[in-house]
Symmetry: C2
Subunit: 412 residues, 2 copies
């Protein structure tokens, strides 16, 4: 018995017609002999409506009640899809998180999956069930209360089921037809990738590519679940979409696989910080406590016992960051001359596992930007990624220039 996991997001089950369309995708896989586990999101808009009601009712809500309320949207979709499949004479039934049970910890609204026992579903598969439709995004805590998994929870649910049931693949149906070399709205030569390595997808997701949630990619990588991203709204073939897989399964790839960007970045610099052991902790501890998501960090060479410290964070966290740093200064924990915030920057990154074995990627990147007259403010690198902060008005130009420089419009 080969099990396939399929996941349909909110736009893919937005109304009864779209649910019918999703059911036809499932039907095709059943016809191929798969037993199918389908994970569904709430109809698009429904979860936001529920979240809105909770927020209005109780600004500092009890996360346990939040979970009880917001999980209800997925239950509706799961039942409706099971009914649609039954109308097609496919033996199907819906499962809510607690019925599986999908066991999580008690971190309500952001729960971690702990275990998905196979017994209940397997018993029904043995009795002839062809399709198990699972309400995504939800589970049950050790206390028997409903939990939700937080952002991207349905993708994560899908990958977790695929891992638990040894699925041949996990297909994520969405409103785009795959992962692109960059955002096609910015670069019309952007090319859909047939395959991408887990590590690359992870970097791209972290950098803001919306197509998959970071957490689901991490889980897929850990359990080696082949993950395919494809469109709900097109006819699909066996090679549709983009396969996220182990790098061993990618025969040839470009040095760089994709160009990512993030528009809402701010750069903050503490000028002339008294440099001493522990100074980084003294700065970034308070920022972390204030809930500031610090991304890039750069420290200049120290001169005369003083240095400049620069970091980036999302634009909407600048005020919070300033307050945290000023408080730390008032408490005497840090000492600096001036705090300068530049909210007019954007981040552009190139990502590719090919960088590991190819020298000169950074040089080629910086050259391409220089050729366009784009000044680089901050640089950070990882093993498979180089990111730069630049003036925001050059963002689109930089993405296009890098896409060209690394010849991403052409397959390897």
């Amino acid at each position: 018995m080969s099990i396939l996991v399929m996941k349909f997001g909110g736009t893919s089950v937005a109304d009864l017609d779209k649910i019918k369309n999703a059911a036809e995708k499932v039907q095709r896989e059943v016809a191929r002999g798969h037993k199918v586990i389908v994970i569904v999101s709430a109809m698009s808009g429904k979860t936001n409506e529920l979240v809105g009601w909770v927020g209005k009712t109780s600004p500092l809500y009890d996360a346990r009640e939040y979970d009880a309320v917001v999980s209800s949207g997925e239950n509706v979709t799961a039942g409706l899809l099971a009914l649609t499949l039954q109308e097609m004479e496919i033996p199907a039934r819906s499962w809510q998180g607690w019925q599986v049970p999908l066991r999580t910890n008690s971190a309500h609204a952001a729960a971690r999956i702990e275990e998905i026992p196979r017994a209940n579903l397997d018993a029904k598969f043995d009795e002839g069930m062809q399709v198990a439709v699972i309400a995504g995004f939800q589970g049950i805590s050790p206390e028997g209360r409903i939990t939700t998994l937080g952002r991207g929870g349905s993708d994560t649910t899908a990958v977790a089921f695929a891992a638990a049931f040894g699925a041949v693949r996990c297909d994520i149906y969405t409103d785009v037809d795959g992962v692109y070399t960059t955002d096609p709205r910015i670069e019309d030569k952007a090319r859909k990738l047939d395959r991408i390595a887990y590590e690359e997808m992870l970097e791209l997701a972290s950098l803001g590519a919306k197509v998959l949630q970071t957490r689901s990619v991490e889980l897929a990588m850990r359990f080696k679940v082949p993950l395919r991203v494809l469109s709900s709204f097109e006819e699909n073939t066996d090679t549709s979409g983009t396969l996220v897989c182990d790098e061993d399964e990618i025969m040839e790839s470009n040095v760089v696989s994709g160009v990512a960007y993030s528009r809402d970045e701010a750069k903050m610099t503490l000028i002339s910080v008294a440099d001493r052991p522990g100074i980084a902790a003294a700065i970034f501890g308070p920022l972390s406590e204030a809930g500031v998501n610090v991304d890039m960090i750069v420290q200049n060479i120290s001169e005369d016992g003083r240095t400049d410290m620069t970091f980036s964070c999302p634009t909407d966290q600048v005020l919070r960051a300033e307050r945290a740093i000023k408080e730390a200064k008032e408490l005497g924990e840090i000492n600096f001359q001036e705090l300068v915030a530049d909210t007019d920057v954007a981040k552009v990154s190139v990502v590719g596992i090919g960088m590991r074995s190819h020298a000169g990627v950074a040089a080629r990147m910086f050259q391409a930007l220089r050729d366009e007259g784009i000044n680089i403010r901050v640089i950070t690198t990882s093993e498979i990624k180089i990111s730069v902060l630049i003036e925001r008005k050059y963002m689109e130009l930089a993405v296009q220039a890098l896409h060209d420089a690394f010849e991403l419009d052409r397959a390897a």
Copy 2:
């Protein structure tokens, strides 16, 4: 610890403001020292929306999936009311049917309650919970699937909790302020009753008074649960609304407590039926199998081995009834000359436990109708009820005449 059960219907929790209003009613009872079990319906309109989706998806739906879908509305309200109570600093939490657990049989979409174990709720009450908010209308089957209780399921849930927890009372909050001697839209002298006996309420509910579901009244009567019907939208005092209780607790009452009516009745007569033992079964068996709800049945005196058989049913079941009877004739199971349907009738009834000890109620009723020139087509009686079928255009007039004749505008 005294436990009070409160139930809020769909119009009483239709939006966040109304939920707030319901929470204030609960708060008042908590302040009086009650532990409270609140049963909630879905926000008005929500269940109909879900039922509509199921019907469109699958006309002959799997009732298990129907239940999984339509039960979700109550979960939302339960969570939102719990949050609202928490905002008022009242320790509250929501419970879905399977969490309690409210155990039912497997008759999906029309399940019967089998057991409500107290352990889970009691443990939380012991830990300091003041209010348990229960999603009404739903339970869990022996197979671990979600069930719903069918029409009036939330009222029934409320009474069942009151019985299981030995509640001091079960308060049903709705959009009217109690049970009236008759419909105030027809008779403006209609008077709200302070008290009404279970048996009377049961007859009135069966006769079409919408304020309480028959099933919940039956359950309240069986377990001697005092049931109070009162308005969500008024300031309530200890004696607001109508108390449905044992007749022993009603000191004085009118001979007749109320006048009920049903507009959509049809009268059907089989003329010159060959009278023989078993003829009634031969007629009403097929009707029952065809799903016709036969109400009144009258058989004339037999002459020459032939008789007329008259029965009533809802207007919209006439075609179904005709078909069933014609089929039975074709199969030779019954033999009659003619089938006459009269869809232009209405049923008017007087109800009162006082009838048991007072003679002459029927005579007074028939006199009042005769005085208005209203012809009676069919009569049936029970121990505490007399119903007549009359021409529909006289229905309002008959209700008013009977209300006057039995002096229902004056308390006993």
